[in-house]
Assembly symmetry: D2
Homo-oligomer: 336 residues x 4
């Protein structure tokens, strides 16, 4: 970390400040005195240094981080890819698991039929919303606890591990048999929830917030990991921009950038990124090209009747075709 | 609500769909058959209509809302300004209450000293963070329950109502004596928390999310109100844009736009919007010009030692000067 | 186009307005009278209808376009892909031409060496900046006319068609022997320049502006086409968002969306989108997955000495490897 | 400027690089050798240093500017406000001139009537579009040269200085009698146009681009100033964000920030920022609170018939009321 001191600050003040930094954070402080300004260089483990608190010092002009603020999620300290086992399915090992299923669980028949169809098409995990974060309090909020039970039924029936979203700390017990617990984009900085999930020994799927930076996403992963749970899978699902042609803008560059910065697996959600079924195929192929570790795709047995987000779902027949192309593309690109 | 049907859909299908809409939502459906396309107009109370579900119908081309999706927050159904009493201080009555205090409560001396200073300068409510949402798990997370107690001490000492942020449903009991419970920008769409706060009979300060639209902000207010709690105060605190010169971009247009759309009071947080102390004065004066119902400003008795966000705080001396200007500007502009 | 009339407008006023619309734009106007509001539907060719002017009518509440505002660029009226011949190289025919070369032309040796190297690696067109749009007036502005001559030398030497940017109408004559004239992102809405380029019979490479929507990009293409020049190639080169990890955010979804909306070819510029050399490979593979018609990549024979934008350039050795992967990926994905 | 060198670079390479920097830019280079990394500090006049070229060096990790990249526009080197005389009207002297008039000049009667009305209401300059940058080639493009003549008529008739937009270098001669030449948001980085305007001895109104940063805006001013023309007035007119409730988002913080960074006057355009007439009043009052040096407001004698952008214009009657409030607010706030 490099700290630029304002002009005309006395040597005494600078020394006082340096000593405080040493004591508070256990770092080495080097001083470089220029003609116009003095620069301090902090050496050692600076990830606990509170950048806001330093910026607040009246003698500080500006700060430049050299080290990343995350440690457990940082590839520098963990060069190998983390491979996470979700109910027998590996994520992060170079394969391309596809998670598929409806936005919302609606009935036993629905979820079991969709589960069977997506399994047949090549998906290896089942997704389905039980607790649904909806912008409107008047919209369908999910079958909640009952939805979880139906998912577990579908798991029994098909053997597929299940993925579903949690929205509240007090629900954690209900999620005991869920294989992969999802934290949605709107809760990416629900730090109290992250901390509690960090105490579990269970994989967590952390979706990037709509306007969260890559660094913030990694800091949210760090919240979970700092409590002891290393099983974090990141998910790029589109960011908010000025473009109205699609619901969100898939940040494809985030995939290689995250692969470089962290050892955690990164999957892509083309359904939420686009909000338009026919965009799912090209965005999935793009995600493979960019190096994604998996895909999560919405499939509904009758999109026209979906109680939520049907507009972005594929039919099982459409999914058959697309899953087939996705798996072929993965193989083709693995061999170049 | 206007629904444009795709070309080449049969009259039978359109009638079937119209009937479903009538039955499911209790609305009237008018049909206008053009040469190229058919348009359906929904009449009646459409705020419960699930726009995603309709968009999902394969025969639907696109939808245009005519009515707003919020009802209890909507000025159309509640033309008069809502005035909210926060421990004796009115918000929304044309006055300009100033909420001031440190980002984090750090000690009894600190909070009591700041409380006395800001009261003397003209503030009528005390803010202070006990539970702090920090991007990094390694940063100071607030004194938590102890911080709440210190705030209550400062309230006893000065008689000022207190404002502080809640981060978790299970903490609600701890907030019993808090006068105004704040929901932070990162939790604006923590719908489970909003629903529980909707069951209280206590004012809620709802901050706009960093990339939330005005409609989404009002839908989050609607979550609280739909559970029975009408005491919602909105807060514009800056949105995320591409501009790096300040931490966030204060969306000044949101103030008059919200005043038109809703009857709820709107306050402005120039400290978080800017992240730079010297911008607080001009942004506060701008907020008054735009019609804000109040201001929330960070003041610290020693910004250089603040454990969080000090960089954006004023000293009490600076606040004296600014509060004086703010109150004079309010009076001056009220008389034009 | 659907026009929602405000409540409480008299039938007479509505009829007057309808008649004006018919006369001014030659469209049919259908009227649908609801209980709360009246809706007008415009039929016929609405692309000349001035939406701002209609929105300005005091009786108009809001407008919804059903047809796109562009006509010559619209795939609906030209279902087949447009294939553009650039000095013998086809773009838009399903192949994946690679345009490569330095950001700036710096010397005869430089441009000829780079040209030979990129040709050997599989590139089929040469790019190089002669007139350079730089944010700072103090930065290197390109060799200008001399740079164009050096590019023409390299064309003679290698037989590759050349691509270079124009910044001013009065330079058009200088570009007579340029095979593909580039309009940069900053000039995407320099309408006077677009109109003049529309009078040429020469391919134009139109880069999307940093914060231009897809519709605006197509309207800028329409400016060129409306003057008679149909040879427009679009280029996605990253948009501006809040994310600081890369210079711009490649909008990968724009590729399939543009392919659906227009018949014009779309190429991708991963160098400018990322601003980081190691991101060029994954972004190029993603672009192929998303269906791009070509790539434009910066290559410099000595990135460390480039007079502009060197930071985003590959060395010729790096380009050898990447071009090889790109071409293999294109073949692999063409066969799935 | 601070340059962080990558780890494991030899002392020899670092020295070589330092010497190059000294020779190329005439700066002093200080070296600070840390345990993990070496940092170079550049002293002297660094505004000509090409940051992209340095970033391209393979041994460079990252760069931090300490000095601003603009010099002539920089308040550090010109602490007093620049006051610009536009045909007798001063901008930047603490007063609040209002520029008003229609989006487009449409006829002699129209422009003269509007001119008289806005003058009577307190405006001191007349705006009106002759050359209009329209998104669609099919929309009204302005009366062009004829529009300029009509503006000059209105100037003769009322004595008000006139402001109008230029779109092309070859039109400069036509603008000889224009008092203040406007560069629109879409041309803010039309560097060839800026350079030519820099050769005039005439005030230039430079509008901020839709997604231009504050630094980029100042660099565009620097383009004009570096050619010798110091008479640059900046204009904040709203930036592009995700918020759909208004056409653009007025960046109110840009006003005090620009006032701090530059000595040039800053005016605000609430009409284009909002695109909605009733927002003009609150945004104008906000702009005064934030410290704006002037306002530019669209007024049309019959908004419903405006050939462009009528939707955002006030009627002269509405302008009477608003101009009155604006001038009272300016006086009121000047006295606090």
């Amino acid at each position: 970390m490099i700290i630029v001191i304002k002009p005309n600050v006395s040597t005494e003040q600078i020394n006082l400040f340096s000593n405080e930094l040493k004591q508070q954070y256990g770092v080495e402080v080097n001083k470089w005195i220029g003609v116009q300004s003095t620069v301090l260089g902090l050496l050692g483990d600076t990830h606990r240094v509170d950048i806001d608190s330093i910026q607040a010092q009246p003698i500080v002009d500006s700060i430049k981080r050299v080290q990343e603020p995350y440690k457990k999620a940082n590839r520098k300290f963990h060069p190998d890819n983390t491979v996470i086992d979700v109910g027998g399915v590996k994520i992060g090992d170079g394969s391309l698991p596809i998670i598929a299923g409806p936005c919302s669980v609606e009935s036993e028949e629905q979820i079991i039929e969709v589960a069977k169809r997506v399994k047949a098409a090549g998906a290896t995990m089942l997704r389905g919303g039980a607790f649904k974060p909806r912008t409107s309090p008047y919209a369908f909020q999910g079958l909640r606890a009952e939805g979880l039970e139906l998912l577990l039924e579908a798991k029994k029936e098909t053997g597929m591990p299940i993925v579903t979203e949690i929205m509240r700390v007090s629900h954690i017990d209900l999620f005991e048999d869920v294989d992969l617990i999802q934290v949605g984009a709107r809760n990416m900085q629900n730090f109290e929830l992250l901390k509690e999930l960090g105490k579990l020994n269970k994989p967590i799927l952390l979706k990037r917030g709509l306007s969260s930076t890559i660094d913030e996403t990694l800091m949210s992963a760090e919240y979970i990991m700092s409590e002891g749970n290393d099983k974090v899978i990141l998910c790029e699902r589109g960011i908010r921009t000025f473009e109205p042609a699609y619901r969100n803008t898939l940040d494809i560059s985030a995939i290689p950038m995250l692969k470089k910065l962290t050892h955690l697996p990164i999957i892509v959600d083309p359904s939420h990124a686009a909000g338009i079924p026919w965009l799912i195929e090209p965005l999935s192929l793009a995600a493979i090209g960019a190096g994604a570790d998996g895909l999560i795709i919405e499939v509904h047995n009758c999109p026209a009747k979906a109680l939520s987000d049907g507009a972005q779902s594929l039919t099982p027949d459409q999914f058959d075709t697309i899953a087939n192309k996705i798996l072929k593309a993965k193989t083709a690109l693995s061999n170049i």
